[in-house]
């Protein structure tokens, strides 16, 4: 076998493996290439971070703690568990995703002889005329790999077949129909392997279903699938005058077979094949309707006709997707900008995106097998490839497809993050079939209250209120945002009440004054009856975009902020029905208004399902707005008005609806309706006394009423017991109805900050009974954080005030506070204690119930742990364990400890001696070494990106290093290409006002001066990395101190140092990767180590955890020596890489651990307790050690590094050395890998 044979054999790799790699090649987001820097641009990192976040948000059950939870790096990587993603909502519309490929173009360029003038094609809608909104459809079938369907609509296939058969005059009843499924040729095992390996899902049902049907009669054959049908007919065809003549012939002779009332001709194509022949396609589409409708017809519902030797083939497209809504569009010039930013479907080969070479733009739809069908721009760009033009005598054009739907609706745009998106999950019984469907509308209103009969007049209904006299105004409003209930509680002046959970708070815009009959544009906040809790009673909440009519009281019109929310209205939904606007009235019927009711009220209108919940609102009637307004106005005008000053405050109490604040003309009055901004922590932290009620209590009182000692445990539920099982297990424990018994695995002691590993039974708050109050039972695999107060019983009973559900999002452990009112923290000591929550994050459906768990607060696990530890400690409710016991076990991650495939071609053992000062460290009994852990992530294998890239930090780090290299601070221009346009604008604004020099031209995240560029990015899931490139020959500024060596030996290094940069201080080191490819012929790479002030200090950087002592100075030097290094490329270009940031944010000190001696470490090596790199199978070991040093691994753990000769191992020569690592701390604190 030779290399070529081997390469040829790879042709037979399995299809799934190739498809997987191909999918990765065609990742939808293009990263902007940078001409010089070889390292990943920040934009790419950020995009991946956002993608990771997105993936997490869609599939919450995948993203559990602990550390080994996989975080998909990008969308091409399959999830590892079989989960149904939850829909994500962005501004009231479902979030979209880009297809992994442009299935229409197939990835090739188009050859044109004379440029785009060769092209033909109908354009019913020109780019310049694109409407502000266009419809987007969801493909009813998801195709894996563009081929395998998850579902096939067999009825639809038959419908399509019948429709075409009828059109061609066939008798349906007489047809013999054959059903076909090409996937039946695959074995079940093969399908299982494909789906498991490539797509990470079970084999979908659709693969086993009928894919097509065919029938033949009277010389006509019909084959149909769920998207269309093909009809083949025999025909003697005349000669045609080009494609136009052919199209004309079809219309004249077969126009009635096209299933269209006004067929329009569409001749597309014009590109040439390799032989120079032009290729056209003739098709027809329905010409009825407006321009946008005709475009959709052309793209989704057309008939193409192909000439054959014996006749004609008609291909009917009947694509019927689920209409998701009308999505805002972007103009053509914006699409070009998006293209330049890399937001387009992978299509043509090559990366020549040049605005000046754009020659044609047309509108179309992305359809095919993609998940969503959305409008798009097809942008034709001339690719001046000289070779193609010369050899083929044709011009090459690349066609880029850019969504015409605003990018924020696409997960891949990076503008629609999980934080902003809204996975408020509309749930259905089908989604979770095993669930007892107690809380879901399935056609039967379980708790519906019949409309009250009209036997009470307004006077009687409001006997204690002067109703007639107090009606103020009647407005039409559009809901913009649902306010969190706890947020609303802080709206100034509002008094909470017992019925708060039956109403919802909204921000809205007043559109129209029905009384004054004039349009308005005012922002208000109001509280309206109807909530999630009330949805089964016919009063679901509104959602963004819903319109309603409010009847407001006079005092609300003049109320000041201390008297907000004092108004009342009936609840009317504004609906357009049959072209007219109606007010559908919920709730109480009113005798005075009976006469105004229209006749329009059908069963349908009585059960309209709102977009916020699948439970319908129940109405008692429909009103014409004008007539109702007139009637109400008559009542108002006929009543004697009570002077406003006599209206008493709070008379209507809670439970009524209204709006907050004054409603005068001055916008400032409305603007004052902002949340109270002063800190309220320390004063009052509300937590529900009644779960789900929204009633706040004083947080301090909760803790003050407790005594004893608290514990805080993070655990994973491993079993959910039935009540019967619970009784049998714990006879003496009376399990309350509101709780459920679980088996749980404790894995983290949050108060003592140490790992745990034991099982216990816990009676958690939440049960089937409580599910509709936001406390459904948990599921196996759920991870929780609970606090326990003095209950060392056989069944632990957590304090229900302090329960959190844990997730890992982008490598950060997040704790969601369950169902309690949001706690407002303003404490700077815990910046991540009260993270902003999207609406989408506030409810998550578990697998045990289709009722969601409600979350009211979001923190990092670290912050909530630190906060609770401090609070409980200060109140005497928690006493830490003894420090000696508090040392956590250090988990060794080989990939993090090792620096790669380490073989050192030192030439001789003497050359291994370096500037590492470790031998100055005297080792005595009781000596310790600091151990650190990465705050971001500790598992390189996950390769997950850090979720929250702190750009402020990056800029600071960049500046730090730039100055360290001696750059003039005044000349540093920091550019950033990873920012969103909004962020760029923000920075620009900042630049104009505060930092004009630094942020003058924010386009890329790098600084440039002379021949040096610096790039900072998040890499390998571990830390912020600073990459510094220095052009060959560039003279470093005076004062910069750089040490390095070329080649493999100390001698060479010294020579290089002397020759090139003798004036700089340097330390020779051998702590870097050595030759990464000693066997691969790539040994040209040179490696250097540097340690000098210009790259800054490693941890502990002024974090106070390593006091200033002589011994600690040595340790600091060892750390710096170990982890600061430079890489010289073989062309002489310098790359500093792997420079850990100089800030404490990435590492956190775990503790001071007992140190072991080199001799003790050797014994551990001998016993097999070591971390290996490439060298493990060498047969070498402790007896072969020729050189030793102490270094810190990138995991923040100190190691003894033992060098053994590698001579004879895999082609290594004398003077080559392989290494083993042994942690330099007491082994009882080390968790070594298997």
């Amino acid at each position: 076998m030779n290399k070529l044979d081997f390469m040829a054999a790879l042709t037979y790799l399995s299809d799934p493996a190739i498809e997987e790699a191909e999918a990765a090649r065609e990742a939808p987001i293009k990263k902007r290439r940078r001409p010089w820097l070889k390292f990943t641009a920040i934009a790419a990192c950020a995009a991946l971070v956002l993608l990771a976040g997105f993936a997490l948000s869609r599939s919450v059950h995948i993203n559990r703690l602990p550390d080994n939870t996989a975080v998909p790096e990008n969308s091409a990587e399959p999830d590892t568990e079989y989960e149904t993603p939850l829909p994500v909502i962005v501004d009231g519309l479902p979030q979209l995703s880009m297809p992994s490929e442009d299935s229409e173009s197939g990835g090739g360029g188009v050859f044109l002889k004379n440029g785009t003038e060769d092209l033909k094609g109908a354009e019913p809608l020109l780019p310049a005329d694109i409407p502000e909104k266009m419809p987007v459809y969801k493909n009813p079938t998801k195709f894996y790999g563009g081929v395998y369907p998850d579902f096939t609509d067999v009825n639809k296939i038959r419908e399509n077949l019948d429709a075409c058969a009828r059109a061609w005059g066939l008798d349906i009843a007489e047809l013999t129909v054959t059903e076909e499924n090409p996937f039946s040729e695959y074995s079940a095992a093969e399908l299982e392997r494909i789906f498991s390996d490539v797509y990470g899902v079970p084999v979908p049902e659709g693969v086993y279903q009928t894919q097509s049907m065919s029938a033949e009669a009277e010389g006509i054959s019909v084959t149909a699938n769920q998207y269309g049908a093909t009809v083949t007919v025999k025909a003697d065809l005349p000669e045609f005058d080009g494609e136009d003549g052919f199209a004309k012939y079809i219309l004249e002779n077969y126009g009635d077979k096209l299933l269209m009332s006004a067929p329009e001709t569409n001749i597309t194509g014009g590109g040439r094949n390799a032989d120079g022949k032009q290729i056209f396609t003739v098709s027809f589409y329905e010409g009825e309707g407006g321009a946008a409708e005709r475009l959709i017809n052309k793209e989704l519902r057309s008939v193409s006709v192909i000439r054959e030797d014996s006749g004609l083939k008609f291909s009917y497209s009947f694509k019927e997707g689920e209409l998701l809504g009308e999505y805002p569009t972007v103009a053509a010039d914006e699409a070009i900008e998006l293209l330049e930013q890399g937001f387009y479907l992978e299509a043509a080969e090559g990366d020549v995106i040049s605005r000046e070479n754009i020659e044609k733009i047309e509108l179309g739809y992305v359809s095919g097998s993609s998940e969503y069908w959305f409008p798009c721009y097809k942008i034709w760009i001339y690719d001046p490839d000289g070779a193609i033009e010369r050899v083929m005598n044709m011009k090459l054009y690349n066609v880029y497809t850019v969504p015409a739907t605003e990018p924020r609706y696409f997960a891949e745009s990076g503008l629609s993050t999980a934080e902003e998106a809204a996975p408020l999950a509309p749930f259905s019984a089908e989604d979770i079939p095993e669930y007892q469907n107690a809380g879901y509308y399935d056609g039967v209103m379980r708790d519906a209250k019949p409309a009250t009969s009209a036997d009470e007049s307004l006077e009687e209904l409001f006997s204690d209120r002067d109703f007639n006299a107090q009606i103020g105004s009647f407005y039409k409003v559009r809901v913009n945002e649902t306010l969190d209930g706890s947020d609303a509680l802080w709206l100034n002046g509002y008094t909470t009440g017992a019925q708060d959970d039956q109403a919802t708070f909204y921000r809205a815009t007043v559109l129209y004054d029905y009384f004054a009959e004039k349009a308005m544009d005012k922002d208000i906040i109001f509280r309206m009856s109807g909530s999630v809790k009330m949805q089964e009673s016919g009063s679901p909440p509104y959602t963004s975009g819903d319109e309603a009519a409010l009847l407001l009281f006079r005092d609300s019109e003049v109320s000041d902020f201390n008297r907000a929310f004092k108004c009342y209205a009936f609840v009317y939904d504004v609906e357009n029905i049959d072209g007219g606007e109606y007010l559908l009235a919920r709730g109480q019927r009113v005798p005075e208004l009976e006469d105004s009711l229209t006749d329009y009220m059908t069963d349908e209108t009585a059960s309209i399902v709102t977009s916020s919940t699948y439970n319908p609102a129940v109405y008692h009637g429909a009103y014409d707005p004008e007539e109702l307004a007139q009637k109400l106005k008559e009542i108002v005008d006929g009543a004697e008005k009570t002077p406003l000053e006599n209206l008493s405050e709070g008379r209507f109490g809670p439970g009524v609806l209204g709006f907050g604040g004054s409603f005068k003309e001055e916008p400032a009055e409305v603007a004052a309706l902002e949340y109270v901004s002063e800190p309220i922590y320390e004063r009052q932290i509300p937590i529900d006394t009644i779960p789900g009620s929204g009633t706040p209590i004083n947080f301090e009182n909760v803790l003050n009423d407790l005594s004893g000692q608290f514990s805080g445990i993070a655990y994973e539920i491993t079993n959910v017991y039935t009540r019967e099982e619970a009784e049998n297990l714990h006879e003496n424990f009376d399990l309350p109805d509101e709780r459920t018994l679980y088996r749980a695995h404790a894995f983290y002691d949050v108060l003592n900050d140490r790992p745990l590993d034991y099982y216990f039974d816990i009676a958690g708050w939440g049960s089937a009974k409580m599910q509709e109050d936001g406390y459904p039972p948990r599921a196996i695999g759920d991870r929780m954080l609970s606090f326990f107060n003095d209950n060392d019983r056989e069944v632990k009973v957590p304090n229900s005030n302090f329960e959190f559900m844990l997730f890992e999002i982008g490598g950060v452990k997040i704790a969601y506070h369950i169902c309690k009112s949001r706690i407002r923290f303003e404490s700077a000591a815990y910046p991540n204690l009260d993270l902003e929550m999207a609406e989408s994050e506030k409810e998550i459906v578990t697998t045990t119930s289709n009722n969601p768990i409600r979350f009211t607060q979001k923190s990092t696990l670290r912050s909530i742990s630190d906060f609770m530890r401090t609070e409980l400690y200060n109140r005497g409710l928690f006493t830490p364990d003894e420090p000696a016991d508090a040392l956590a076990t250090v988990t060794v991650v080989p990939e993090a400890a090792s620096l790669g495939d380490e073989i050192y071609s030192a030439g001789s053992v003497e050359n291994l001696d370096s500037g590492n000062p470790w031998r100055q460290l005297e080792i005595s009994e009781g000596d310790t070494l600091p151990v650190y852990e990465r705050v971001m992530s500790r598992n390189m294998e996950q390769n997950g990106m850090i979720e929250n890239v702190d750009r402020g930090f990056m800029r600071e780090a960049l500046r730090f290093y730039a100055i360290g290299f001696g750059f003039d601070p005044d000349k540093i221009v920091i550019e950033d290409n990873s920012l969103t346009p909004q962020e760029l604008e923000k920075i620009s604004e900042s630049a104009r006002t505060e930092l004009p020099e630094e942020y003058a031209e924010p386009t890329e995240m790098s600084f440039k001066e002379g021949g040096v560029e610096v790039d900072i990015c998040v890499t390998d899931g571990m830390f912020y990395r600073v990459d510094i490139g220095i052009e060959k020959g560039f003279e470093l500024p005076e004062g910069a101190k750089v040490g390095f060596y070329f080649g493999a030996s100390r001698e060479e290094a010294e020579n290089a140092e002397a020759a090139l940069l003798a004036e700089y201080e340097w330390l020779i080191g051998n702590n870097d990767a050595g030759k990464t490819a000693v066997n691969s012929g790539q040994s040209e790479n040179c490696f250097v180590t540097m340690y000098h002030p210009c790259v800054g200090e490693f941890i502990p950087y002024d974090d106070g955890t390593l006091p200033e002592t002589d011994r600690n100075d040595i340790i600091k030097t060892i750390i710096n020596f170990s982890l600061n290094n430079i890489d010289f490329m073989d062309d002489g270009t310098i790359y500093c890489y792997g420079i850990p940031n100089a800030f404490e944010t990435q590492y956190r000190k775990v503790g001071d651990y007992p140190m072991i001696t080199p001799e003790e470490a050797l014994e551990l090596l001998r016993s097999g307790s070591y971390v290996w790199t490439a060298f493990e199978d060498s047969g070498r070991g402790a007896d072969d050690v020729e050189y030793t040093e102490l270094i810190y691994g990138r995991d923040g753990v100190p190691y003894y590094k033992f060098y053994c000769s590698a001579e004879g191992w895999r082609g290594c020569e004398a003077g080559d050395y392989g290494v083993f690592y042994v942690p330099a701390i007491a082994p009882e604190y080390v968790d070594m890998p298997e």
Partner: protein, 183 residues
């Protein structure tokens, strides 16, 4: 046109199948051929021959993944062409560079072997490595993509990709040896 429709055309012996397949996959197939042969004329011929072979093999074949199916044919033909051309001159393609890297797996010795069995073994090994390693390996040694292309897709660096591929090759060699392959 969707793949299944194109395959239908092949099955129905419609010559439109060739035009549709060429229209859709010319770029894809040309890229495979160009990466191996670095010659646009050769690439054109490879695309034509690929479609010709597809015409002769569908039916009886009914590929579920048309792109992959055509890509394999194109790759096979390209490597055959490479053998011929390489005897006369060094082909300055990315494939040649990637071929050199296989030196630490293949010793240019040994006897006859079954390429399909070897591919199965490689397949099995690749299932044991990480997603990044697997896709990088196939992109490099199947598609002959450059380090830079792979690095950009992975959000990584060229040196990291080189290192990753080195480890993967090394692991593959060990795996094949353990499986009894004399390479």
């Amino acid at each position: 046109m969707q793949d299944d429709m194109i395959v239908d055309l092949f099955w129905q012996r419609e010559e439109a199948a060739l035009a549709e397949a060429q229209n859709k996959y010319q770029g894809y197939l040309s890229k495979i051929a160009m990466n191996i042969l670095a010659d646009i004329e050769d690439a054109r011929e490879i695309v034509n021959e690929t479609l010709f072979r597809a015409w002769n093999s569908i039916p009886p074949q009914r590929p579920s993944l048309l792109r992959t199916y055509l890509g394999k044919i194109a790759r096979e033909i390209s490597i055959d062409r490479y053998r011929t051309v390489h005897r006369k001159k060094r082909v300055a393609s990315e494939f040649t560079v990637s071929l050199d890297e296989l030196g630490d797996i293949v010793s240019d010795g040994g006897g006859e072997f079954d390429g399909r069995l070897l591919a199965e073994a490689v397949d099995s090994y690749l299932k044991t490595v990480s997603y990044e390693a697997r896709t990088a390996f196939i992109q490099r040694y199947y598609f002959a993509d450059t380090f830079r292309e792979i690095a950009e897709r992975q959000g990584s660096t060229e040196s990291a990709v080189k290192s990753l591929l080195f480890r993967t090759r090394r692991g593959l060699k060990k795996y094949l040896e353990e499986e009894g392959w004399q390479i």
